[in-house]
């Protein structure tokens, strides 16, 4: 299950930010690469909501500042890694 979720998460990042899967590490941060800007972040949020069938809160969308942080926040929506 958790491997599955990891794959889904990486897939969402790859698709939304149009980056290589290998760059999607826990350390990857918002606004540190040109592909992850505010517009891409919105696409990412939509992709995560779709693959995990959840609806994120405003504060969680803002706090999702890295891949690691995304996993932590998704944990609060019962999506575990």
């Amino acid at each position: 299950m958790s491997t599955d979720n990891n794959e889904k998460l990486v897939g969402a990042f790859v698709e939304a930010l149009q980056i290589e899967a290998i760059t999607v590490t826990d350390e990857l941060q918002y606004n540190t690469i040109k592909e992850w800007d505010s517009v891409a972040h919105m696409t990412l949020v939509a992709a995560l909501e779709e693959v995990f069938d959840i609806m994120l809160d405003t504060d969680d969308i803002i706090d999702m500042s890295s891949v690691g942080k995304a996993k932590e926040i998704l944990g609060r929506y019962d999506v575990n890694f």
Binding site: S38, A40, H41, M42, T43, D59, I61, I62
Partner: protein, 446 residues
């Protein structure tokens, strides 16, 4: 002078603006600002102001303007090379930019001050993001007339607190400032974006917010409808066409919450507001630009072009320092280049555009400017696209370098830019680029 816009009876202690640091500017401070900026930049000059939504930079704008200078408003993100060439072209006498605390002033001694028309007060760039060297010239009176018209149709009151996040070098952002100053209201200046917590903290105190389609897309994605915004009353959208689904979503949320969501239309050259679609007309006319604002009249020319008659139409353009000495060349009439129909008497809908402009996140981008600037760097390109997507065609195979050069030069949002390799540019029989054919190719990429 624009500082004369403030109501005669406004209390000197009334707050004109409060920024993210908590710094405040009061209506009573404006005379001292005029004296300070008259002393700091001697004579009468064209001064480049690199804008920021902070009390010191707002103060610099009002003070410079009140001291009689001609203020050229520019983005603080402007590329140094663009600023240098503007300085050279217009013989700019001083550059004022944001510093860690106060504004930083750089006086230029190597320029010959151009002749400035006595009424020339504010200049804006025709294309903010490309830093086009072509400027729009305004008298203070032209901008003030527009501010008063806006204050009247939006029924602005002194207790308004707009969240002023749009930059002032952008004509829409500037009109938010002027129209609220005209009623003695308080601007909540912010440098934060929708994606930052601080934006939402300040938003809670705001009675209104103005934005371009991009901002409303973001606000909707950020669950605007689920946020508690107890003071919010009015939302205004301008700066390009909002997609129908977003317009409808905004209308639904606003109706539920008791907010008024208005769509407005304008052009920088018109100072800038031209027409508006009141919230109670939204449901039936999502795709319209609405009615002329007070003081403005609209007509459809025989070719279908929207023609605007308004006391706020610019004096004219400037492309050389000599142009800064010219008087009003427009006589209050502007051909917008937008093709319109009039489904109801006095109510207009845009059906096409004659000019080679698109808007990226509300900022007008001149396709010719992009072609010229990239061409100068050895990348001959042809541009097309639609609002929020710029398609750059090249006959060269290395599209990555063109992409990174364009982003470096113009700070385009990365996802709004597509660079496409093409065997040969489509040309007409006279060898000129066939932009209609190019537009079709661009459609395939969007």
């Amino acid at each position: 002078m624009l500082c004369e816009l403030r109501p005669k009876n406004v209390s000197p202690e009334a707050i004109l603006a409060q920024d993210d640091t908590g710094a405040r500017l009061c209506y009573g401070d404006l005379d001292a600002l005029r004296d300070r900026w008259a002393a700091q930049v001697p004579g009468r000059q064209i001064v480049a102001l690199l804008c920021a939504n902070t009390v010191p930079m707002l103060g610099a704008y009002i003070g410079l303007q009140a001291a009689g200078h001609t203020v050229l408003l520019l983005s603080s993100k402007i590329a140094k090379s663009t600023l240098d060439s503007l300085t050279q072209l217009y013989q700019i006498g001083a550059i004022v930019q944001p510093g860690p605390e106060d504004a930083i002033v750089e006086l230029r001694t190597d320029v010959t001050a151009p002749d400035l028309h006595p009424d020339l007060s504010v200049c804006l760039s025709t294309s903010g993001s490309t830093g086009s060297p072509k400027l729009v010239r305004f008298t203070a009176k032209q901008l003030a007339e527009n501010a008063l018209s806006i204050a009247s149709y939006l029924n602005l009151t002194p207790d308004e607190k707009p969240l002023a996040h749009l930059p002032f070098e952008y004509s829409f952002g500037l009109s938010v400032l002027h129209s609220h100053m005209a009623v003695g209201a308080t601007l909540l200046l912010t440098e934060h974006s929708v994606m930052q917590k601080q934006f939402w903290e300040r938003f809670e105190h705001a009675t209104s917010v103005a934005g371009v389609p991009f901002h409303f897309e973001m606000l909707l994605r950020m669950r605007l409808g689920r946020k508690s915004l107890p003071n919010l009353r009015t939302l205004t959208q301008a700066g390009g066409r909002l997609e129908r689904k977003d317009a409808e979503a905004m209308h639904t949320i606003a109706t539920e919450k008791g907010w008024k969501f208005h769509i407005m239309y304008g052009q920088t050259e018109a100072g800038p507001r031209i027409s508006w679609l009141p919230f109670d007309k939204m449901a039936s006319h999502f795709d319209c630009i609405g009615y002329a604002i007070p003081g403005v009249s609209l007509e459809r020319s025989s070719e279908g072009n929207l023609v605007v008659n308004s006391p706020s139409i610019m004096m004219g353009y400037a492309e050389t320092a000599d142009d800064l000495s010219k008087g009003d060349q427009m006589a209050g009439k502007l051909m917008t280049g937008d093709l319109v129909e009039e489904p109801e008497l006095g109510l207009f809908r845009i059906i096409g555009r004659k000019n080679r402009f698109i808007k990226l996140q509300g900022n007008r981008v001149s396709l010719s400017d992009v072609e010229i600037k990239l061409g100068e760097l050895g990348f001959p390109v042809c541009c097309s696209g639609e609002d929020d997507t710029l398609v750059v065609f090249t006959e060269q195979s290395d599209t990555d370098i063109i992409r990174s050069t364009a982003i470096g030069l113009f700070s385009f949002p990365t996802r709004s830019l597509k660079v496409v390799h093409i065997e040969a540019f489509p040309r007409r029989s006279n060898e000129k680029i066939d932009y209609a054919a190019l537009q079709l190719l661009a459609q395939e990429e969007i």
